[in-house]
């Protein structure tokens, strides 16, 4: 019997499975695994066409480069604000919406709308609104006799983080809303009978039972916060100075403006390690937290 005609039923199913999987295997090999291998091997090279082997030279250089360190710190600060804001504001709005109110659907739609916009819209629109001279905000403030704002100069990182929250908080709100609706009403009723006030019920029932949602929201926010790019590219161009030099923006400039693919690749790998480490730590912490309930 030929090799192509399998003898058993299970061998035939296996052949079908692999036939169906073939495009996916080729795709993920060519567009994920080979590129990941290439980014690692390029990170060991230097020179304008990344063809001189330097071992771990790029990594040593990156770890001692003040500009790289600075952009890591900027990115960490940005991600921290976005994570904290996503959880606090997203949960707050979800709890407000998780009440028998008229117009809930309309509120939910309005709160979710910015999430649908491209980072290009978010960036351009807010750069226009916040522009010190041409911006609608300052023109309105002056017309009302109020002091002008210079937020993109005085606290640029906080400002672009706030703009990011403007875009994303509707998404975390929907996640928290789904989480809240999964908590059985009987828990709250039982606690009420036992005399627990709203504050206690929030800390002892709502928050612990929401732990899986909170974990998911924080993992997603860390991952997306650490790889933010458009905000720096469109709103601030990394400035003023290097105050908003987010890591992916920094890597983009090293790769495509300075044309140093080797150095940029090493920085990508370092940022990837940070992201994976953070995700694993959060998941482990989350798992430990879950045991109690």
């Amino acid at each position: 019997m030929s090799v192509l005609r399998p003898r058993t039923l299970s061998a035939r199913y296996a052949r079908t499975a692999y036939l169906f999987l073939l495009p996916a295997i080729l795709f993920f090999a060519a567009f994920f695994y080979v590129p990941i291998g290439n980014v690692v091997s390029t990170s060991l090279m230097s020179g304008p066409s990344a063809d001189r082997f330097t071992g771990l030279g790029n990594y040593a250089q990156a770890l001692s480069d003040p500009a790289v360190r600075h952009s890591f710190l900027v990115t960490a600060g940005f991600a921290l604000i976005v994570v904290a804001g996503s959880i606090v504001l997203g949960l707050g709005l979800a709890m407000a919406l998780d009440q028998p109110l008229r117009g809930r659907v309309a509120f939910r739609v309005m709160l979710l709308v910015p999430y649908l916009t491209s980072v290009a819209i978010v960036g351009l629109l807010w750069r226009n609104i916040l522009d010190p001279e041409l911006g609608v905000l300052n023109r309105t403030l002056v017309a009302l006799g109020l002091p002008e704002q210079q937020w993109l100069n005085t606290s640029p990182l906080l400002t672009i983080a706030a703009v990011t929250l403007w875009q994303n908080v509707g998404y975390t709100m929907v996640l928290f809303l789904a989480g809240l609706q999964g908590i059985p009403e009987t828990f709250h009723e039982a606690a009420k009978i036992d005399g627990a006030d709203a504050w206690h019920r929030f800390w002892r029932i709502t928050l612990p039972l929401l732990a899986p949602t909170t974990l998911f929201v924080s993992v997603m926010a860390v991952i997306s916060g650490l790889q933010a790019f458009g905000q720096a590219y469109i709103i601030t161009n990394g400035g003023p100075g290097d105050a908003t030099d987010l890591s992916v923006f920094h890597i983009f400039n090293v790769a495509f403006r300075a044309r140093d693919f080797g150095y940029a690749s090493a920085q990508s790998v370092l940022l990837l390690i940070v992201i994976v480490a953070f995700t694993l730590i959060q998941l482990r912490a989350g798992r430990r937290g879950e045991v109690q309930y």
């Binding site: 996916a24 403007w166 929907v174 949602t213």
Partner: protein
């Protein structure tokens, strides 16, 4: 009292979300003088619909729109074609290395796009695919997330349906086409919707993979247009409205699916 407080909170939050977008619409209809006037114009006296036409004469905006439709549409079609098929295999087949392959697939969820950006650029430059549709589309033909979603959705479909069809002599592909695929329609709707909106809005890869204005997608074309004509805010706003309208319409029509989709993806 408590109720009034809740309404106030929600109303203020909703205004913060929606007002900037309404201002974008107003700005897109103002004259250049109105965009610069000392007292900000809330709504233009005579809306300048001509701004939208002017946009097309200053930049190849028609190209941007076609490119965005081709790229986002092409990627969405590929996802609808491949994600359910792969999800079906992982849901219903037993074969050697199944768990290894599944873990290898899920591991790609941990790989942010910027890690692939440089090697993909080198690959596309090598193939001569910079400034081509295939260069913009191929890196996103399928993803682990969509496959995982489809697998979760297909798993509860009873195996008996598949066995019965096999006994009736249906081919393996016909079983997938005729029996599995029709049952996944709600999940396909969510998958298609999310894929299209995300790809329509995608910024980094089209920025890297195009160098000529004619091949840019709307988000990239608009941003670079704004760098060139950065005082002409009424035109940038008009372009932003064009970029936003399709997602807004899709969202209004499918609002329920959308919210359910987010909840579905969030809670495994």
């Amino acid at each position: 009292m408590r109720r009034a407080l809740l309404y106030t909170l929600l109303a203020v939050a909703s205004l913060v979300m929606v007002l900037p977008l309404l201002y974008m619409l107003s700005l897109s209809l103002q004259t250049e003088a109105e965009t610069l006037s000392a007292e900000a114009v809330v709504w233009p006296e005579s809306p300048q619909w001509g701004n939208y036409a002017e946009l097309f004469t200053r930049a190849p905006f028609g190209n941007f729109i076609v490119n965005s439709l081709v790229v986002a549409g092409g990627i969405t079609l590929a996802h609808l074609l491949f994600d359910p098929l792969v999800g079906y295999v992982f849901a219903k087949f037993r074969f050697p290395l199944r768990n290894t392959l599944f873990v290898a697939l899920l591991a790609t969820l941990m790989v942010p796009f910027f890690v692939r950006m440089i090697p993909l650029y080198v690959l596309m430059a090598h193939l001569g695919w910079i400034n081509t549709y295939q260069g913009l589309i191929t890196p996103f033909l399928m993803d682990a997330f969509g496959i995982f979603l489809m697998r979760q959705f297909i798993q509860p479909i009873p195996d008996d349906l598949i066995h019965a069809a096999r006994i009736d002599g249906a081919s393996e592909f016909a079983i997938y086409r005729r029996i599995i695929l029709p049952q996944t329609r709600p999940a396909l709707a969510v998958l298609g919707l999310f894929t299209f909106v995300f790809q329509w809005n995608e910024f980094l890869w089209p920025l890297v993979a195009t160098t000529t204005p004619e091949m840019r997608t709307i988000p990239v074309g608009l941003t670079l247009f704004n760098q060139e004509y950065f005082t002409l805010w009424h035109l940038t706003a008009a372009g932003s409205v064009i970029l936003f309208v399709p997602t807004a319409v899709l969202f209004i029509v499918t609002q329920r699916y959308f919210v359910r989709g987010i909840a579905l993806t969030g809670l495994r």
